[in-house]
């Protein structure tokens, strides 16, 4: 049945993808060695002096590095949970919407913020939450004194996470919507005839039907556990919220302003990759063990 002949064809099919990957992803990976060098462009990667773990040691010798790591992880985890759940809820709501005429316009419009970069969106968000902005105007109706939202340490993380979800949920919901369509409608019909209510069908048919998609996305999103989103934070933060909003990437960026620090940036990139890889491997193994499902 599975003849060996097929294998050759399989290789042929995979070849373009892997060649592409080799040329543009694997070959540039030699740059990872920069993390262990004091990189000097004039000497190049082959001749720059080796300094072992000095870049990492330097990073961890900074007094604020713990705070920066905590900020990064809290913001990133908040985002990845939010970006997993909110789009799912939205997709389910849209799926249940009975006025079918509205489905397409809603779906088209909610994904618009995704197309604006944070440079543009950043100033819009700051204006919306500004002292004279609409949010404060609304609050003043209820007699609340104007709040300087982006000057508050305690509000910065929720604002960053919230605005990130707002930007992306319409777009992220697309995968769920695609998964929802692959659930056989006859299952719903049969259940409805059996008298199962909307909620029961959600629990017993819809959610199991998209379970694998959710698990897959959850595990893949772990790859971003140290990526809190440079562009967004850079365009929103200020010295008042350093204590809750300064992340690894903004920290490296500021270090680079004083002196061009190529090796440090590479070292940080490597650290992030290693952490992501460990998390993904672990969660892959756990998912396999407990659900018996290999996500890839």
């Amino acid at each position: 049945m599975y003849s060996k002949k097929n294998i050759k064809h399989y290789w042929l099919m995979m070849a373009p993808g892997y060649i592409w990957l080799t040329l543009f992803s694997i070959v540039p990976m030699f740059g990872i060695v920069m993390a262990f060098q004091d990189f000097n462009p004039a000497l190049g990667i082959f001749k720059s002096p080796w300094i072992g773990l000095e870049n990492f040691r330097y990073m961890f010798s900074m007094d604020d590095i713990t705070q920066v790591f905590i900020n990064t992880i809290v913001i990133a985890v908040g985002k990845l949970i939010g970006n997993l759940i909110i789009p799912l809820i939205f997709a389910l709501m849209l799926h249940e919407l009975t006025i079918k005429k509205l489905v397409r316009p809603i779906q088209t419009l909610v994904y618009l913020p995704y197309f604006l970069s944070w440079v543009i969106l950043g100033s819009i968000v700051l204006n919306i939450f500004g002292v004279d902005g609409p949010v404060n105007s609304l609050l003043s109706v209820f007699g609340v004194e104007p709040i300087v939202f982006f000057g508050r340490e305690d509000l910065f993380r929720p604002l960053v996470i919230g605005s990130d979800i707002w930007k992306g949920f319409g777009y992220n919901a697309v995968i769920y919507l695609a998964a929802l369509t692959s659930i056989d409608p006859s299952l719903h019909e049969a259940a409805a005839i059996d008298g199962a209510g909307r909620f029961k069908r959600l629990i017993h048919i819809t959610l199991p039907g998209i379970k694998t998609t959710v698990i897959l996305l959850a595990i893949l999103s772990l790859g971003n556990v140290l990526n809190a989103g440079f562009d967004q934070i850079y365009n929103l933060y200020n010295p008042l919220v350093y204590s809750t909003g300064d992340i690894i990437d903004t920290w490296v960026y500021r270090a680079g302003l004083v002196e061009l620090q190529f090796s440090l940036a590479t070292a940080v990139g490597l650290l992030k990759s290693v952490v992501s890889f460990i998390l993904i491997v672990t969660s892959y193994a756990l998912a396999d063990k407990f659900t018996g499902y290999k996500i890839f």
Binding site: Y2, Y10, F30, E96, P113, L116
Partner: protein, 294 residues
């Protein structure tokens, strides 16, 4: 599907619809804001006075865009990039995903191939080596650089692999019995059945190429080779005035036009708005897989 409309169901439907409409309005704010800025008087815009209604309504910005050659040059670069890129990416992704969705028995070392993918998704050598390599390939200022340099979107491959894996094996066996080889099975059975996921990754690929601006900047030596988002990005980034000399400050104060920029941003979103509904039907209406579904 005939449903009994109880009060609870109707209440749920009403609340659900209302919430969705509110959410939609919330997502419309930035776009509306940009539109208002693009049709408002420049001075009012610079003073930050425009929020939700235009001040000094005019269409000057849209008239001006017509004479902006650079805008249309970049627009065309982006269109070429999206068309070429989507064709190349989609072909590579789908062709790669099909064998990878097989078991280790059918494709020896399948798991190793898969982990190579995951590895490549997570590790990279940083911008500098990447740039040096692309330059070594001679892909600077080339449309192929813009198409290929982003490398293969591995996330999409994994997505498709997962979708393919859920297609019942019986279907494939039936095809083999009919004498179809791997290519025919792939093209005539797997791809049509996977319309939702193909539509999804098409959308991701199109949007990915359309939105990308950093590579456009790094891989182009002049503005006429910039894709549209790179072109827009250079206009809207805030400059730190104190690092500029007086001539530059003078230029910026004379030339910066936020209304015009807003109009460009707005127009740059239109193609996506046009394309989306075409793909949308595949992941909203759902397609009946009928008997093939487990």
């Amino acid at each position: 599907m005939v449903e009994h409309k109880s009060f609870g169901a109707r209440l749920f439907n009403g609340v659900n619809a209302t919430l969705l409409i509110l959410i939609t309005l919330l997502c419309l704010t930035p776009l509306w804001y940009i539109l208002m800025i693009s049709v408002s008087d420049k001075a009012a815009v610079n003073a930050g006075a425009v929020t939700f209604w235009p001040i000094g309504f005019n269409l000057l910005s849209y008239q001006k865009i017509v004479s902006e050659v650079a805008f249309f040059t970049s627009f065309w670069v982006s269109v070429k990039r999206v068309v070429l890129g989507t064709a190349v990416s989609l072909a590579a992704i789908l062709m790669m995903a099909y064998p990878l969705s097989k078991t280790s028995k059918q494709l020896p070392h399948r798991n190793a191939y898969m982990w190579v993918l995951v590895f490549c998704m997570l590790f990279n050598g940083g911008t500098i080596p990447w740039y040096l390599v692309i330059r070594g390939y001679g892909l600077i200022d080339s449309i192929w650089g813009l198409v290929l340099a982003g490398s293969l979107p591995i996330f999409n491959v994994i997505l498709v692999v997962n979708f393919f894996r859920n297609i019942p094996g019986a279907l494939e066996e039936a095809a083999y019995v009919d004498g179809a080889g791997p290519w025919r099975t792939f093209i005539q059975i797997f791809i049509p059945i996977s319309a939702p996921v193909v539509a999804t990754i098409s959308l991701f690929t199109i949007v990915g190429y359309w939105n990308e601006f950093f590579q456009g900047l790094v891989l182009s030596t002049k503005q006429s080779n910039y894709p549209l988002q790179t072109y827009i990005q250079q206009l809207v980034v805030n400059l730190n005035l104190s690092t500029l000399d007086t001539e530059q400050i003078k230029q910026i104060s004379q030339l910066n036009n936020r209304s015009l920029n807003a109009a460009k941003i707005f127009i740059a979103m239109i193609p996506v708005l046009v394309i989306y509904p075409f793909l949308q039907k595949y992941f909203i209406t759902g397609i009946t897989l009928g008997s093939v579904k487990e």
